[in-house]
Amino acid sequence: MGRAATWETWKPDPGNPNQHVAMLVDTSECIGCKACEVACKQWNLNEARINQEPGTYQSHPHLDAQTWTLIRFVERTNDQGEVEWLFQKHNCMHCTEAGCVTACPTDALQYGNYGVVTLDQEKCIGCAYCEQACPFDAIHVDRNPFNPRAQKAGKCTLCYDRITAGMQPACVKTCPTDCIKFGDRDALIEWGRQRVEELKARGFKNANLYGVDQLGGLHELYVLLEPPEVYGLPANPKISTWTKLWKYAVQPLGKLAVGAGLFGLAVNWVAARRAFLQGQAAGHGESDHAAGQS
């Protein structure tokens, strides 16, 4: 598995779509260079958004429909009174119980192979329910009306197109310090736990591995130097009861309602057709052409 081969050459097993892959970011070795951001934009041909706020090194205030991965910069003074600068590569966590999948009314968002949360932009209607449902602010709808992907949601795909072709995700491939690793999820968890122990031994008493249990297990794992909240990551992310209610009660009811509506329409159509045919039989030839058009 993961540990036998080196991370750089690891590939998912094409014969086993139930295998869980993951990406692990060792933030202790992230240098905040943003090469991952650029590689992501380039591979996915996403457009540049020049919207940096003054007074920070962070390139964008948050993820957006064209920006699928972002280094978040956290500057703080720690318990020892020392300045600390933390970098966290933020993107879709590919949750096992995903808020976005739960909220999506058109099934554009689904659980795909290898544990990846997939997004089919063809099916996306831009309702933005996923935006509301994501506890990580990792999926957004493009509100630029001039963009070809206007009113479509966008987020990290875990480079599904690359990994299914035996390549590493673009950000992993480009990372100069190899702090982003891609591999078998269980093997990465084992590696991450070992790394946390090393960091603790070195004096990082708050070091922890994030993503093992959250939302049934994330497919984006982090070796963090400080508690998750310091990075703006929820320690116990939840899908709100309302989202679940929406998915498991309102939507089925709605579908039922839609079904009933369609039934009504069908009855209506049959009735209308009958009336039309009766009318045609009565010799209203003029309406022929119009009916053919409809």
Partner: protein
């Protein structure tokens, strides 16, 4: 770099000082982090808490421009506490040698200072010699005229308290730092010092590096696993450009430019060759160079065409001298390849003003730059500018074949990935064409002065595509070949001084060899050692069997050696000092062996010639001894001592001599200097990961432009409070030379510095923005309008890391 990135895993301590590797050499950071993973302590000395500091165990802020005070303090600490590697110092360095009896150092001046000439007479900086011509030595290090005693005396003033008052490092912090670093002053332990522009861009840039050299030699940290001084080079191929002497004061392979006192080749060789060193082979390298350049026209009867090479006089011809000469009217035409001096040069405001004096200007670049468009920008009226400007489109890095030589002297071949756009051509193509056309122009000249052009060997055409370069022809000339057969030489050991070999750059020799009748380009070799760790890298092993230095990948000069001076990794008997061996003497086989290519003369341990041990590690230095004492090699002193920058907020606490006396400033209506009463704040400049120098190659690409769009000045919380500035406010930074408006980035990553009983503030700005180039939304004022053209006397680098300014809040 004396060392290799792959060897950094062996370091016990890694000290970044004058380097922000995580931001400016992100690829290298991988290897530093490998060292950290294996237990190295990482220390960052920098006024700012950078992205490198974010990965360090210890961040020590100090005032820009006081590096020698810090390093001098560490030297003093090592000597006073006996924390240095005595056997290494005695056997491998010039510490036991006796200095000229008339040498003196008093109040910041060395003996020989001539206030009229503003230069040193260096005759008292050398060593005392005995009747056999060899330097006198005292291995007890007790003789008062030994280098060791001089060093001990000079740095005795650099006490922790004094260092603290100069640099702003609290005494306790300095002592902790000193303890960690000097803990490596024992056999088997090593620290690496990493530097870049933070050490070089000062009026004492070369002396900053010399200070680290002294400390590292005292600690026995050069040439040993995990040791060394790592100079991180600024661009992909800046090391290659230096090696091939794209410089005014050198010839390829560091042979040195002849000057007007060198009437013939014999005089040049006599005066510039270091005796009792490997440099005794210099005649072979120099005559082979002349054969490479002038071919059949280089003959014994015309002194091998030595007189075709220009001879310099006492003037300088470096970057800033070029623009000063344009201002003075002596330089009339200018070629600019891949540079944007109107944005990237110090005192940038001067550049587009003096360029109006040019008759013609050629700019070769990927994008139109401020320099190419100077004639209608910066207040220049096109009607008043007579300069004829030619803009030629350049091919990008992926659009051309060639090689990169990176920081660890590793030459890697690269192939063209795609054809250049439109009529764009490589820089090499332009250079070859220029040479061809110049030769055609002078082909029928009979004037003596035109012979260097007429007889220049200039055959780089690709036989299959006459309008293209055959890059292997260029590489073969660099590598060297037998004149009679044209066969490449296998290394510089084959070069001769009888005209039978030609070689364009002796240190690269061995890069192109003939194996089984085939030309093999070693720079193109891609055979890494197989990983022995799950995360894909190769760990060094104590038994010396693992080639963790990847000798099958590319070619490192010289002779594919990865760690220079690696003889020093073993004791005088040839036994490795530490747990990881680099080289060792195999007594059974009677020869040196190693994980690396052994760096020494082919002699046995302890072999004595001409009265000195001849197996010492520093074979390019006299007697093979490491240069704790610099002797006469630099123009500004045999050892580094602390001077304040040309613009400084304080008096020199150590000497009456305020600044390094050899520093030069230029006289023009555009050169101004400020004083601390008007400009009390220390200003420094730097680069960011996201952009390259003047930003032309990055601000023009939307995906890179968005990565860092807003230029800024970093200021401490304390200074911000004092000045009523909030994060994100528009502010104006002013120096004696100019003003820029940028956004304030208020941060805890900069701290006010306490120098004794006063507080000094420091602010910093990146240099990547310019007012015209780039995609929409990433234009701004030019930071370099703030920086001074005050330069170092050895290499003429500008002091853009430490100068004076002020800051105030403004409204748009």
């Amino acid at each position: 770099m004396t060392t290799s990135f792959w060897d950094l895993q062996n370091a016990d301590v890694i000290v970044f000082m004058g380097s922000n590797a995580a931001e400016n050499h992100p690829i290298s950071m991988k290897w530093f982090l490998r060292g950290k993973e294996k237990g190295a302590k990482v220390i960052v000395l920098d006024p700012r808490y950078t992205r490198t500091a974010a990965k360090a165990d210890m961040w020590v802020p100090f005032r820009s421009g006081t590096d020698i005070a810090v390093l001098g303090g560490l030297i003093n600490y090592a000597i006073q506490n006996g924390k240095f590697h005595r056997e290494y110092v005695v056997k491998y360095t010039n510490a036991p040698l006796l200095v000229h009896p008339d040498f003196q150092f008093h109040d910041g001046l060395f003996s020989g200072w001539d206030p009229e000439k503003q230069a040193y007479d260096r005759s008292t900086w050398g060593f005392q010699t005995g009747p056999d011509g060899q330097p006198l030595r005292d291995e007890t290090l007790e003789h008062p005229q030994t280098v060791f005693q001089h060093i001990k005396r000079i740095y005795s003033e650099y006490t922790p308290e004094r260092v603290s008052q100069i640099t702003g490092i609290p005494v306790e912090t300095f002592l902790k730092l000193a303890e960690i670093i000097t803990d490596t002053g024992v056999p088997g332990k090593a620290a690496t010092f990493v530097y870049a522009m933070g050490w070089t861009q000062h009026t004492k840039g070369v002396q900053n590096i010399r200070a680290a050299t002294i400390l590292q030699l005292l600690l026995g940290n050069i040439g040993v696993p995990g040791g060394g001084i790592a100079a991180l080079r600024g661009h992909a191929n800046v090391q290659g450009a230096t090696d091939l002497a794209v410089l005014w004061h050198d010839l390829p392979g560091y042979l040195g430019i002849p000057n007007e006192s060198h009437k013939d080749l014999a005089t040049y060789l006599e005066k510039t060759t270091t005796k009792d060193s490997f440099w005794e082979n210099k005649p072979k390298f120099m005559i082979s160079l002349l054969k490479a350049w002038y071919g059949e026209a280089a003959r014994p009867d015309n002194d091998w065409a030595f007189h075709y090479i220009p001879k310099v006089d006492s003037r300088w011809f470096s970057h800033y001298d070029i623009f000063q000469s344009i201002y003075e009217g002596t330089v009339k035409g200018l070629f600019v390849f891949g540079q944007n001096p109107a944005v990237g040069s110090a005192n940038a405001g001067k550049i587009p003003q003096v360029m109006k004096n040019l008759e013609w200007l050629v700019v070769v670049d990927l994008f139109a730059t401020e320099t190419a468009d100077f004639w209608h920008l910066f207040g220049n009226d096109p009607k008043q500018v007579a300069t004829e400007v030619f803009f030629l489109p350049a091919a990008g890095p992926l659009e051309k074949e060639g090689s990169f030589t990176n920081s660890h002297r590793l030459i890697q071949w690269k192939h063209k990935a795609i054809e250049p756009l439109g009529e764009a051509r490589s820089d090499g193509w332009y250079a070859v064409q220029l040479g061809k056309r110049l030769k055609a122009l002078y082909a029928n000249s009979t004037a003596k002065k035109d012979e260097p052009i007429r007889y220049l060997v200039w055959d780089y055409d690709d036989p299959d595509h006459p309008n293209d370069i055959d890059h292997l022809k260029v590489l073969k000339e660099i590598n060297g070949y037998e004149v009679a057969t044209g066969k490449p030489v296998s290394g510089f050991g084959q070069l001769k001084d009888d005209g039978s070999t030609a070689c364009g750059c002796w240190i690269y020799s061995g890069i192109l060899v003939e194996e089984n009748g085939q030309l093999v380009n070693k720079a193109d070799s891609r055979k890494p050692t197989a990983p022995n760790r799950p995360d894909g890298w190769v760990e060094a092993k104590g038994d010396g069997t693992t080639d963790y230095l990847h000798h099958g990948w590319g070619f490192a000069w010289p002779a594919n050696r990865r760690v220079l001076y690696n003889r020093a990794s073993a004791d005088p008997e040839g036994r490795p000092w530490g747990k990881v061996p680099l080289v060792w003497f195999d007594h059974a086989a009677g020869q040196w062996k190693g994980v690396d290519v052994p760096d020494m003369l082919p002699v046995k341990p302890g072999e004595v010639r001409m009265g000195v041990r001849f197996d010492t590690p520093f074979i390019m230095k006299a007697g093979g001894l490491g240069g704790i004492w610099g002797g006469t090699s630099l123009v500004d002193g045999p050892v580094p001592v602390h001077y304040e920058p040309v613009e400084s907020p304080v008096q020199n606490l150590l000497y009456r001599q305020q600044t390094i006396p050899t520093a030069r400033t230029y006289q023009s209506p555009y050169d101004h200097y400020g004083t601390p009463d008007k400009y009390p704040i220390v200003v420094t400049t730097y680069r960011l990961t996201e952009h390259l120098t003047s930003g032309v190659m990055t601000r023009n690409l939307p995906w890179l432009a968005e990565a860092f769009a807003v230029p800024f000045v970093e200021i401490s919380q304390e200074l911000a409070r004092e000045k009523g500035i909030r994060n994100g406010d528009l502010v104006e930074v002013e120096t004696a030379r100019g003003r820029v408006r940028v956004r304030a980035l208020v941060t805890s990553r900069l701290k006010p510095l306490r120098l004794g009983d006063r507080v000094v503030h420091e602010i910093g700005l990146p240099i990547h923005w310019a007012p015209f180039s780039g995609v929409a939304g990433v234009q701004a004022d030019i930071t370099n309008t703030l920086t001074p053209q005050a330069v170092d006397a050895n290499v003429q680098i500008q002091e853009s890391k430490a100068f004076l300014g002020n800051i105030r809040k403004v409204t748009a």
